[in-house]
Symmetry: C2
Subunit: 339 residues, 2 copies
């Protein structure tokens, strides 16, 4: 019989939404609240701290009243300079299962909320600096198992690639649970601007359901030539003008074109010897990346939708906020930095 | 002594503005009005035709009252389905100095206004359909001389490449005055969306003057790797976060990055054996393209700023609207299509 006692509350608190999870032994999701307000909405009010505190009470109050000692952990933009408290970054390479040098906490009416730091890549030579905040937690939950680190038996430190599509898609390389490299691609944000605000938006019409043939046609363009976005995108307009593309197919065509350009380039010049990738996204977007990766000769698997809940649990274990026995603080004490 | 009698009124009537030219013998600019309202503003009023007619009177009324018989010719989006009258397209290849099969005219209080058709490329195989409207006239004015067509002596039918940077940059291949190919790149529109509305816009600050070093740094990125926009653009944010790029340098850095990606790709995979190009743009934007083309090993010359006035004159001559003697209708009669 499974132990259903709550052990942890985990919050995936991003720019546009907050997802709260009540987690039991081994990170099992006992309950969830997915519609919380994100950093953008909460920072528009006058008193930022009070707005975050109210949202926490709104989402997790009932859970905490029944379980007053539950530890609280959060990841995402809540820890950015736009968020509740600035949680800093850890420099690559980072073992996601190791404890950071310091951990940021913010005092709440329910006790301290631990905020997971982001990851920072310095970038040398041709490589740019880059940042991740929130995805590192999804990432840890997306890994099929969570063996500790790259050390120890080499069988445990498998190299892997994880793609996290979204507004700012992250392409991440790992060895075991150690993040060794990542790159941000702005495909998602550009797709939004193009299909909502550019000249392409003017003739695009909403479709009743996704048009996979149009998406594949976009992939054809991306994989069929030395394509970039700017020089191929106008075709979404001219093909409609020439009667060769339906207005309702425009968005899916552009989606295929843009994801195709991104995936073709990353598979060719960034993935190196990797021919497998894990995709961490909702099923609809994930299947698009899977289709594009297949074209590039890369096998992919879709991580479970609640990967972030698993990641929050695993991080809390690594931080010593919950022990494997489920008792808070079972690990060694950690240095804290309270702003 | 030059003959200063007006022979033609030419209108470069685009999406956002209208430039009117009073032209004398050989297309000399005798007077100009550059601040007229474009198609977008004029079509927002209830009676579209009346709005265009009023704008014409506003810009050219004084010229026409003194010279009531002056022929009128216009190019640009005024001839689109969003404009005053739909002027159709000519299919490639098109000799810009030849008369189209039919010419659209619209009746005005001052007599007929002839509207120059755009160019249409069908697009076969890997090639997309594409359209030009207005740039074909600038193009003709940008050519150093205007020998007729690709036929006749081969010395006259020089192959050439003309770049017309703007919201939708056009890359055009010609043989003499015959347009043989063109491609539209949306770099300009994407640059606007990115620097005004994306996450990059949030940290970009206006600079007092153009930062050429930042522009060149963007070119370095574009030419230094297999770059595309989506996967390199986030660097404009992370370099600022890492203290390696000033917020006032962001826009010029992004400009260099985007123009660099465009020019590198066109020079490599579209220009073929061409190592020279004519740029048709204002001096500020033109010099940026010249810098990028130089990196790609392409020599460039900047066309005169009033290329469009020259193009309107040359087109009017080709259409027989003005004769070389300056008398309207000196050419053979042409078939007209009035909507």
């Amino acid at each position: 019989m499974t132990d259903l006692s709550p052990r942890l509350i985990g919050l995936d608190w991003g720019t546009t939404s907050c997802r709260a999870y009540l987690l039991g032994e081994d990170g099992e999701v006992l309950d969830q609240r997915l519609g919380g307000r994100g950093v953008l909405a909460l920072t528009q009010s006058g008193n930022r701290e009070a707005a975050f505190e109210r949202e926490l009470a709104e989402l997790c109050g009932p859970w905490l009243e029944r379980n007053p000692q539950l530890p609280l952990v959060a990841s995402g933009m809540v820890g950015s300079n736009q968020g509740w408290v600035e949680a800093g970054y850890r420099n690559l390479p980072v073992d996601l299962m190791s404890r950071p040098e310091y951990l940021t906490e913010v005092a709440t009416a329910y006790g301290p909320l631990f905020v997971i730091p982001g990851l920072f890549k310095e970038g040398r030579g041709q490589d740019f600096p880059d940042v991740i905040r929130g995805e590192e937690t999804q990432l840890l939950g997306a890994l099929p198992e969570a063996p500790h680190g790259a050390g120890g038996s080499s069988a445990k430190a498998q190299p892997a690639v994880v793609v996290l599509p979204g507004t700012h898609t992250k392409w991440v390389r790992l060895e075991g649970t150690v993040v060794t490299d990542f790159v941000t691609s702005m495909t998602g944000e550009l797709f939004g601007l193009i299909t909502q605000q550019s000249i392409i938006a003017r003739l695009a019409e909403d479709a009743r359901e996704p048009d996979i043939a149009a998406f594949d046609r976009g992939l054809d363009v991306a994989f069929g030539r030395d394509a970039d976005i700017a020089s191929t995108l106008f075709s979404a307009r001219t093909l409609v003008m020439a009667g060769q593309l339906e207005p309702t197919a425009v968005k899916d065509y552009v989606s295929g074109l843009m994801i195709g350009v991104e995936v073709e380039r990353f598979a060719r010049s960034w993935m190196g010897e990797h021919h497998e990738a894990t995709i961490c996204a909702n099923a609809q977007l994930g299947s698009r990346y899977a289709r594009a990766l297949k074209r590039a000769g890369v096998r992919s698997t879709l991580a479970p939708e609640d990967a972030v809940a698993t990641g929050l649990w695993r991080t809390a274990v690594a931080l010593g906020i919950v022990g494997r026995s489920g008792i808070a603080g079972a690990g060694e004490p950690i240095d804290k930095e309270t702003p």
